[in-house]
């Protein structure tokens, strides 16, 4: 047992800090701090800065030009980046699709797509969910029928995050309707400019145009865009999910969120005294902080075991559940801390062209509270995760 970082880990942290201090543009961190919507350009700018330093592809093997960080390094970066209000890395290309291509893609696919992900030539989105296939993803219905050297794709995807920025989508499609559900699914790469694709925005409850629904009407997809083997898509999708879950606890976001609540609570006044001195508020805050202190260690325990070659397995479900509960609790505290100034709708402030109504630390706190209800719904809902955890221990007895 040693609760401190090693010398190398500390040196790495200093390096990350220096990088963030020198390279993270103020305009970006200011937007993140004030919970404003980032434009496509903002995201691309940050990706380019990271890529220049070789830190965009953090989990890629060196052979593919990645940094090949271990889990502790990734954790350190996540924590420092969140503390510095860096934009999050948009995961769809670099963290989700890339590992699948590296493991299952053809040489031609790797050579073509991987550099484009790093250079920002492609923006990928994730086409898994459908109106009828949420938690029960394997029941998906989007059909791909082979016709010569093309697939003809028909169906609908939904909840596609930031699809409005994307020029490509990776999709799960049904190629064998007669096989057992999981065995008739394939993994297809589709160009968003293809004729027959129509995308409509879905506005979320906080007013943000964050997700989309995408309709496929006789869309022709070249056969070479199939990843791996036909009807093996479920295996690849599950492999992708293990990568989707590496930063699943969101400890960095939680720590940064907690800091921001504290700043609010020192500045806000109740009966002329700082809110942080209010025993009820302080008790709520302390409870989350105590949970988070334990969570940080749980997270590090689990990811360093994974670094030592053990698969995180069911523990990643635990991190997902506890991590999202803690983050949502912090969002709730931020909303409370803002008091009556949580009431204004921050659309103007979100667009960055207006002064906040109240103190700027209160910007969009309520909107964020509502938006982050998604944390316990997506990426495998918390109910589904609890089912996985219970089943792992109760097994056939359940």
């Amino acid at each position: 047992m040693d609760l401190t970082y090693s010398d190398e880990e500390r040196a790495f942290r200093d390096e990350v800090r220096a990088f963030l201090r020198d390279k993270l543009p103020d305009a970006l961190s200011e937007k993140v701090r004030r919970r404003q919507e980032l434009s496509k350009d903002d995201h691309e700018r940050w990706h380019a800065i990271l890529n220049e330093r070789g830190w965009l592809a953090q989990n890629w093997p060196r052979a593919f030009g990645g940094a090949e960080w271990n889990a502790v390094q990734r954790h350190i970066f996540e924590e420092e980046a969140a503390a510095a209000n860096a934009p999050r890395i948009v995961p769809f290309g670099v963290a989700m699709l890339a590992p699948v291509l590296q493991k299952f893609g053809s040489k031609a696919q790797q050579d073509h797509y991987l550099p484009r992900i790093l250079n920002g030539d492609d923006w990928w989105c994730q086409g898994y969910s459908e109106p009828g296939a949420g938690s029960d993803l394997a029941s998906l219905n989007t059909r791909a029928v082979r016709q010569g050297d093309h697939y003809i794709v028909n169906g609908q995807k939904t909840w596609t995050t930031l699809g409005q920025h994307a020029n490509r989508i990776f999709c799960l499609v049904r190629t064998d309707p007669d096989a057992k559900q999981q065995e008739g699914i394939s993994f297809l790469l589709i160009d968003m400019d293809s004729p027959g694709i129509e995308m409509r925005p879905i506005v979320l409850l906080d007013g943000s145009p964050e997700v989309n629904e995408i309709f496929f009407n006789d869309v022709r997809v070249p056969f070479e865009n199939l990843v791996g083997e036909e009807n093996k898509g479920w295996t690849y999708a599950k492999y992708l999910l293990t990568h989707e879950r590496t930063n699943i606890a969101g400890v960095g976001f939680a720590l940064a969120g907690l800091e921001s609540v504290k700043r609010m609570a020192y500045a806000e006044r109740r009966n002329g005294r700082a809110l942080i001195e209010n025993p009820h508020f302080a008790a709520r805050l302390a409870q989350v902080e105590i949970d988070l202190m334990a969570m940080e260690t749980t997270n590090l325990r689990i990811i360093s075991a994974a670094a030592a070659g053990q698969a995180p397995g069911v523990e990643s479900s635990m991190l997902k559940v506890k991590g999202t509960i803690i983050r949502q609790e912090i969002n709730d505290l931020a909303r409370r801390a803002a008091g009556p100034y949580a009431l204004p709708f921050p659309s103007a402030a979100l667009a960055g062209d207006n002064d906040p109504v109240g103190p700027d630390y209160g910007d969009a706190v309520a909107a964020t509270y509502f938006n982050n209800r998604k944390l316990s719904i997506y990426g495998g809902s918390n109910e589904i995760q609890r089912g996985i955890i219970a089943k792992a221990k109760l097994g056939g007895g359940a």
Binding site: G134, R270, P340, L343, P346
Partner: protein, 381 residues
Amino acid sequence: MNFELTEERRMLQDTLRRFLSKRYDTETRNAILDSESGFSPDIWSDLADLGIIGALFTEAQGGFGGAGFDIAVVFEELGRAGVVEPFLDSAVLGGGLIAALGDTDQQALLAEVIAGHAHLALAHGEPASRYDLSRVETSAGFEDDKIVLNGRKAVVVNAEAAGHLIVTARESGDVDDETGISLFLVPADTAGVTLRGYPMLAGGRAAEITLEDVRLPPSARLGTAGAGFAALSDRVAAANVALAAEVLGAMETAVALTRDYMLTRKQFGRPIASFQALQHRFADLLIELEQARSAVINAAGHLAAAPHERDRQIAAARNLIGRIGRLVAEESIQLHGGIAMTQEYELAHIAKRIVMSDHRLGDTDTHLERFIALSYAQDAR
């Protein structure tokens, strides 16, 4: 003991529920939410014609209700339908303060409010006052026979629509003294009054108000100089009953929508209502909803009680409603899954109404503290 509504109140409830289910569907409401004014003048005047505003005032005040249970019945229905029209601000707070303090001339405005022809807004909260009711920095001075107001008011709901603002200002005492606070009836177009308006997350509009050397005739004062706090807390108590009832109604809708969705949404080849993990959580919502209903009854039934007991009961209700409201809003969204995250879906609006009402006139913690102060003080034994 009798927990039945009177015949009159049942009729009021029926009338309002029927009107809203016909005229205030999701589509209409979404259009209202997107509108520039933030509410529908048509709906407002139709509801006034139906007597809904009158139901919030006593006969002596020109209405035909005005008791805690009248307010609760009306606001529960408004909450059930997710109504964003400013009944709390123009009627319960604004009209209520004029009814309590106004002289004969000022009372004329009350008749206009009840008829649906005039809007009011209570300009009380300030940038640094949070939920502290007695904290008033805005000052009222005297110069050449004129009252002169200076200060800033924060998140004044319905300010842009209001023809008159009811402004609290300090004439004497320390910044958080209960004595020394006066109320003034200020025409919105008075020189020196500046509004910065904006929409609110859960619907409706509010404004930041700057008062810069606002000159008023002495007749603009509501009630006696420096003695406005009692009437203010009385009306805030009524508004807290209204808010609690509104959230109760909204929670009923949230739970009804959740029930329907659980029965229709299928995953893994069966309705999600068949998963026991979800059934138990749904059951908890039903249990808590009954608690919430009782809390509203307690609060409404004590609105006319002596201030100490009135405030204790109301603090209890709003604390409980705040806790349960959050649970119901969050659980309803979670049990739905992604669909509840979309702005278009009714639950999104309802959940926002529930949660954001905790930011008006004291949040869950403020009411807890108030309850403690009113219940556990050494000398209360």
